[in-house]
């Protein structure tokens, strides 16, 4: 029995003339994901991409990995048969044994794109349905709401048989929407924000601020681990670790306590922007969610945004914490995010941060810092790490 994976691309199918470009990016992403599992061939046809492995390739693992490739709406493991209807009758029951045993109702659905095939769709449904009922007498047919749908696709060169399509990761292929830099602290929100933008086709780089000795090696390790989880979807991520101790100490010494956080965030944006433009990024991404903490009120975001010259994407802006948490559980970052290591955002936090900061006050306070020199030194001290 030859098994293949059939990929249904989602939104991509709606693209016009540049659909092929999107498809090529997605195939490249899939190829990279499966590269260590053996040789796979990818054949696009209509809105489906057929993925075929050499003998002995680990299809199970391949399916698992493909479930995290953006741009795929759905996929199925399918039995590939020569164009002989007797083979369909003979092999379907055996191939789908487990699913058929576990279901109590089913229907057969036929798609015949090769109109020259001697059996038409109703005929295929009828004959295969009868055969499966013979083989599995516990089953009944339910065409309206079946537990299991057995699909037979008659294509130009082969016939495919599969049951119950799996949901793909959706979205757009990573790399199709350009590149942006994710500002990541180690909390719950930023990895989710990165994941959401990757889902819209953004290729991610990441920027993390470290303040030793106020933050530990473990805090940075945590960021590596979090990005490792995001990279399972987004592919390889280049992480820049920016030394931020000097900056934070300067802000603490020279600026009013209640403006500490807001100024720190503006400085982070300045540094991030510099690094982002060096690495070819067109935007910054943050995990801000409106009103979540003092630095994420409308007023505070306005102040932070003023420091930015490139667009700042805030995909979580309208989401509740529990909605964010449920995504972080889904992408498996939650358990890492809640490890209790102090990160750069919690160093020197003021007791009563200003929730309605006035921009002139902020700019006045900032003028006491030698911003250019501090940014220069922070950016110069940046380390790069590749996360796979």
């Amino acid at each position: 029995m030859k098994e293949v994976i059939l990929i249904k691309n989602g939104e991509l199918a709606l693209k016009g003339l540049n659909r092929r470009t999107f498809e090529d990016i997605m195939i490249k992403n899939m190829r990279r994901k499966l590269s260590d599992l053996g040789t796979f061939t990818f054949t696009p046809a209509q809105s489906t991409i057929k993925v075929e492995g050499e003998d002995g390739a680990d299809l199970e693992e391949a399916v698992d990995r493909l479930s995290r490739v953006f741009g795929i709406a759905g996929f199925s493991r399918a039995l590939k048969l020569d164009k002989d209807f007797d083979l369909v009758l003979e092999q379907t029951g055996k191939y789908l044994e487990e699913q058929l045993l576990c279901a109590s109702t089913f229907k057969v659905c036929a798609k015949r794109s090769d109109k020259k095939f001697p059996y038409d769709s109703p005929k295929i449904c009828l004959l295969l349905g009868e055969r499966l009922l013979d083989e599995y007498p516990h089953l009944t047919v339910d065409v309206r709401n079946p537990e299991l749908t057995v699909t037979v696709e008659v294509r130009d060169n082969d016939i495919f048989v599969h049951a119950n399509q799996l949901k793909g990761a959706g979205g757009m292929p990573v790399g199709s929407a350009g590149r942006a830099a994710l500002m990541v602290s180690g909390g719950i929100d930023s990895p989710v924000a990165g994941w959401m933008m990757a889902k819209r086709g953004i290729e991610l780089t990441a920027i993390h601020f470290a303040s030793p000795p106020y933050t530990s090696e473990r805090a940075e390790q945590k960021v590596h681990d979090l990005l490792g989880k995001v990279a399972r979807y987004a592919g390889r991520i280049e992480l820049s670790v920016v030394p931020f101790t000097e900056f934070q100490e300067a802000i603490r010494d020279k600026c009013p306590e209640d403006l500490f956080t807001i100024i720190m965030r503006r400085m982070m944006v300045l540094c991030a922007q510099r690094i982002a433009s060096h690495t070819g990024c067109g935007a910054l991404i943050t995990g801000e969610s409106l009103g979540q903490v003092a630095s994420q009120t409308l007023g505070a975001i306005a102040c932070t945004d003023e420091a930015a010259t490139m667009p700042v994407f805030r995909p979580l802006i309208g989401m509740d914490k529990d909605e964010i948490i449920s995504i972080s559980r889904k992408i498996d970052t939650f358990e890492i995010s809640i490890l209790p290591f102090e990160d750069c955002c919690t160093v020197f936090t003021p007791r009563h941060p200003r929730t309605r900061p006035k921009l002139p006050d902020v700019i006045e306070a900032e003028s006491r810092l030698d911003v250019d020199a501090l940014v220069e030194r922070a950016v110069a001290g940046t380390r790069k790490i590749i996360i796979n």
Binding site: D58, E60, E61, D64, E98, L101, C102, S216, E217, R218, Q221, D332, E335, F341
Partner: protein, 377 residues
């Protein structure tokens, strides 16, 4: 020359295991939970060990929980699952030939009021798929099946458990005791359809004092040991770095399992074929058994006597299993083997280091034993 053929009891340490252990003792004395660099260095090694074990099972590192032994992994799994799901049902399905580290837990759970179904085995030591399907009902909360029997090497149809649970709509978790299977056959828990799987280091040329439990992502167990919440809260206690890194070394040194299985099968076939030529030898293991374990009887010669005789000749095997010494084998009894054959049963267990010379030495000693020792009337 000696022939150590008791590898299912334990194995010698392989060289990678030794190296990693020495390194652990000298360099990684930190507590992996400590936040300073010494602790972080230990944590990194611990993570690397977890990744290596996970890779050997094609699973994720977070799905591996290190425990103090295979027995402790079995206890953590069986009690942890039963106690976590006790509100969802009362039935547990297992086999009548489990290792004591599972069957004694079951006896305890019966006292707590659980209904435990013990599946019977055929003359080869295997349970039947259809009986398994029938035994699982909608109130079943745990199915615990050993992968390979420790006395006769029979392989259980573990993959059927998932189907049985699905079909019955049971809330059950599926546990597999893979202590005798891990490192000898290719295992992928996700393909096998199990939620929990136990293994031990010292059966695969690693050290004693460490085992692990695979816990499928999303599965919640009642913590078996309470304390500092190490190992995903399932198995608290500061991780024993030398033992865990020893396991890491043993896993790194595992051979290509498919090729090794073929080699071992050839050795086993030779052993069985030659042993059958000796007067009074009967093979108790089935043909389909894992080739690393051969159970045979020198009818008329009590196991202990023959074992002593072989030991004096430098050949080391066990009677039944090392864990049930002194009792009549429950496994062979369940297989319906006659008492005189059970009383004379020997278990010869191979490892990837076993040579043809060792097998010849055993065969020669066994033949001499059969010819010189007086038969018991």
């Amino acid at each position: 020359m000696e022939a150590y053929l008791d590898n299912s009891a334990t194995t010698c340490l392989c060289s990678s295991a030794k190296e990693r252990m020495v390194e652990a003792i000298n360099k990684y004395y930190g507590n992996p939970s400590s936040l300073h660099s010494v602790g972080t260095a230990a944590q990194r090694q611990l993570d690397a060990a977890r990744v290596a074990v996970a890779k050997s099972l094609s699973c994720e590192a977070e799905e591996i929980v290190f425990t103090g032994s295979g027995t402790l992994a079995n206890n953590a799994a069986v009690f942890g699952a039963a106690h976590a799901l006790r509100r969802r049902g009362n039935r547990i399905v297992t086999t009548c030939v489990e290792h004591p580290s599972v069957s004694e837990c079951m006896a305890q759970l019966e006292k707590e009021g659980f209904e435990v179904i013990y599946l019977k085995v055929d003359k080869c030591g295997r349970i039947s798929k259809s009986e398994l399907m029938q035994a699982v009902n909608s109130k079943t909360i745990l199915v615990s099946l050993m992968y390979v029997n420790n006395e006769v090497g029979s392989i259980m149809p573990v993959e059927t458990a998932r189907l049985a649970v699905k079909k019955a709509g049971a809330p059950a978790l599926i546990h597999c005791d893979a202590v005798q299977a891990y490192g000898k056959m290719l295992i992928k828990p996700s393909r096998l359809g199990v939620d929990l799987m136990s293994a031990s280091a010292h059966k695969i040329n690693g050290p004693k004092g460490v085992g692990f439990l695979y816990v499928r992502k999303g599965v919640r167990l009642m913590p078996y040991i309470c304390g500092g919440n190490q190992e995903g809260k399932i198995y608290s206690g500061t991780q024993p770095m030398p033992a865990i890194l020893g396991l890491y070394g043993a896993v790194e040194e595992l051979p290509d399992l498919t090729a090794q299985l073929e080699k071992t099968t050839a050795l086993r076939d030779y052993l069985v074929q030659e042993a059958r030529k000796i007067n009074g030898i009967v093979i108790n293991s089935g043909d389909e058994a894992l080739p690393y374990i051969v159970n045979l009887s020198a009818v008329g010669h009590p196991s202990q006597t023959m074992l002593n005789y072989l030991s004096d000749s430098g050949v080391y095997v066990s009677g039944g299993s090392a864990c049930s010494k002194g009792h009549r084998s429950k496994v062979l009894t369940a297989m319906g083997i006659e008492p005189e054959r059970i009383d004379s049963a020997l278990r010869i267990s191979l490892s990837r280091f076993t040579t043809r010379e060792e097998i010849d030495m055993f065969l020669c000693a066994l033949e001499n034993g059969v010819n010189t020792l007086r038969k018991k009337k």
